[in-house]
Symmetry: C2
Subunit: 144 residues, 2 copies
Amino acid sequence: MFSKACEYGIRAATYIASQSKLSRRVSLKEIADEIDSPVAFTAKILQQLSRNKIIDSVKGASGGFEISRSQIDHIKLSQIVYAIDGNNVYVGCGLGLKKCNASKPCPVHDKFVQIREDLKNMLENTSLDEMTTGLEVGLTYLKR
Amino acid sequence: MFSKACEYGIRAATYIASQSKLSRRVSLKEIADEIDSPVAFTAKILQQLSRNKIIDSVKGASGGFEISRSQIDHIKLSQIVYAIDGNNVYVGCGLGLKKCNASKPCPVHDKFVQIREDLKNMLENTSLDEMTTGLEVGLTYLKR
DNA sequence: ATTTAATAGGACATTTTTATCCGATTTAAT
DNA sequence: ATTAAATCGGATAAAAATGTCCTATTAAAT
């Protein structure tokens, strides 16, 4: 569905959000540890998220990553997915045709449109804040 | 969503089915040409489909690929996807967790379960025969 | 029997994705 | 000012996916 990079990205942003809600800025190392991801690779992904203004990075000693309270509410999963995987997830043809569309569709065009639309809606309606609610009470997890 | 191999596989199987309905056995070259795929790579995929009894291959002069009439009706897209990509598409965790499940879920577990379930149902309920109906009347396409 | 047209399959090549390493830069604390 | 702790970013490495090439095998036609 998503690339590994995107999966790590969502998990990382979710962890950062959960800690930002506690006013804790977190380091790369802590993030990678808490979401069980390769450290250096995660660094690259955090850079991408930072460049896309999805997370804030602070350089230097006692630096790290954080997300402002207000942003946590209105950043949606769709923004993270778009920043890392682009819009391929919900616009590309299910059978890989370059110019598949309603007027020259592949045999499963309509069926895929439906599923991708559902996925898109889900991603666009799930905020980082919502992602963290289960985490805080130990109902959901970000590793293993 | 699917690997390139799987996309080619679905398109190839669909084309073979459409021609088998006309009692035409088709060659690798013709298939690759009609679905706009790399010839040698397509050969590998057809081998996989053949080993998985999804298509029949006939060696030697005037050989090629075909699907028996009866099979065309009851082969579902899910079988093709499974033969090439395994069941990752609808069982893997959306965030890449190895052991994500209802009792230890990732933050989007329920939402992904829903979407994957829809995808699974769609694949399990779409037969190769259904894939060919639009093709025959020029309503759907397998290339570009 | 020989030739020809086809798939089978192993080895190899290329590209993309995933992952690592290291020096440069920034900033807080001493 | 110096040191220590952190991110940034470029170069490189490893693994996986995609794609190619060549020989072997098969079977029909001559």
